[in-house]
């Protein structure tokens, strides 16, 4: 259901008209807001809500990456984690959220980096309620990144370092490379 709205926003994008895209951007934010508000009503703990958002994001991500690769035919294989990060930020985020985060804070082994978002289209007009201090409103993004990268054989851990909704200066998502996934032959078939 949520994936459908991603699609709708994308179809509007290809129609060149700036105004149409703006309207659907608001609809997108409002829809996501209604989704999170409903989750807040349904679940008790913030941790549970965050987990649900991550799960939803994961389901979106595993499907979204196919669509992404189909739309950006010119993109070849990434040979290292650094180019993966660049494609993720410059193409992935741009295509679906319309914003390009800056890549920052690489660690020494070049296996971890941060995506810093100046503005987050999901959080236009949102103010976090007082009684949910641990809620990660945009946690769905973490799930999407994790799911999408898993489909291209990368196992990563994604989490929020800073969230501007909570009062931090910017929104910062950390991505850490765990391992490369090898396609395993299912047990029983030999």
């Amino acid at each position: 259901r949520f994936f459908f709205f991603f699609e709708m926003a994308r179809q509007q994008h290809s129609r060149v008209q700036q105004d149409l895209r703006k309207v659907s951007g608001e609809l997108f934010s409002l829809t996501y807001g209604a989704l999170v508000a409903q989750l807040v009503r349904d679940y008790e703990s913030d941790e549970e809500i965050n987990r649900q958002l991550d799960k939803m994001g994961y389901n979106i991500g595993i499907r979204l990456v196919e669509d992404f690769l189909a739309r950006n035919v010119g993109l070849g294989r990434c040979y290292d984690f650094k180019s993966t990060a660049e494609v993720l930020a410059k193409n992935g985020f741009k295509t679906f959220l319309g914003v390009v985060p800056t890549i920052a804070n690489w660690d020494q082994k070049q296996e971890e980096f941060s995506l810093v978002l100046e503005q987050n289209p999901l959080t236009d007009f949102v103010e976090l309620p007082e009684d949910h201090p641990e809620l990660l409103y945009s946690n769905i993004i973490c799930g999407v990144i994790r799911g999408a990268l898993e489909m291209v054989q990368l196992d990563v851990k994604v989490w929020f370092l800073q969230d501007s909704l909570k009062g931090d200066e910017t929104t910062e998502i950390r991505v850490k490379f765990i391992r490369k996934l090898e396609d395993a032959v299912p047990a029983g078939e030999d």
Binding site: L30, Y32, G33, A34, V36, A37, V40, D124, F125, V126, E127, L128, P129, E130
Partner: protein, 138 residues
């Protein structure tokens, strides 16, 4: 110069209230507060009558009580903004600008997915912005 601003919901419930006092005066302010609330409440009927008379959002002066003037503004979703002020210093233009600015802030607050319409607005951010608007126009 004191002003009392209230946003009234569909069930005559106050959704947002704010005083713009000149100086705190202890118990005198408390009495005055009761009075202004009473005047605002009494003016609700007049606001409802006035809003059907023409298609404008800004209702100008709706009622007078001794030295207090009541001005009204109704939004597209029938939320009523009522301002009770004791000074005649506010021109219609200023009041209209104030109401329009609060209207914009109100719409933004409404777009917050965690806010249910017709319930009290508890956002500190909204309160601060309305106070700024009040300073600017009143």
């Amino acid at each position: 110069m004191t002003c009392y601003f209230v946003i009234v919901g569909h069930n005559d419930n106050p959704v947002f209230e704010m005083d713009v006092p000149k100086a705190a005066e202890g118990s005198k302010t408390e009495d005055r507060r009761h009075l202004t609330q009473f005047v605002a409440h009494a003016a609700l009927d007049l606001v409802d009558e006035a809003k059907w008379q023409h298609g404008n959002l800004f209702l100008k002066t709706v009622d007078r009580y001794n030295d207090l003037t009541v001005t009204g503004f109704v939004t597209a979703s029938q939320m009523r903004f009522i301002l009770v002020s004791d000074s005649s210093r506010n021109t219609n233009e200023n009041l209209r600008s104030f109401f329009l600015e609060v209207y914009e802030l109100f719409i933004k607050a409404l777009l917050n997915p965690f806010y249910t319409p017709n319930t009290p607005i508890s956002s500190a951010n909204f309160k601060k912005k309305v106070q700024q608007a009040a300073k600017k126009y009143l």
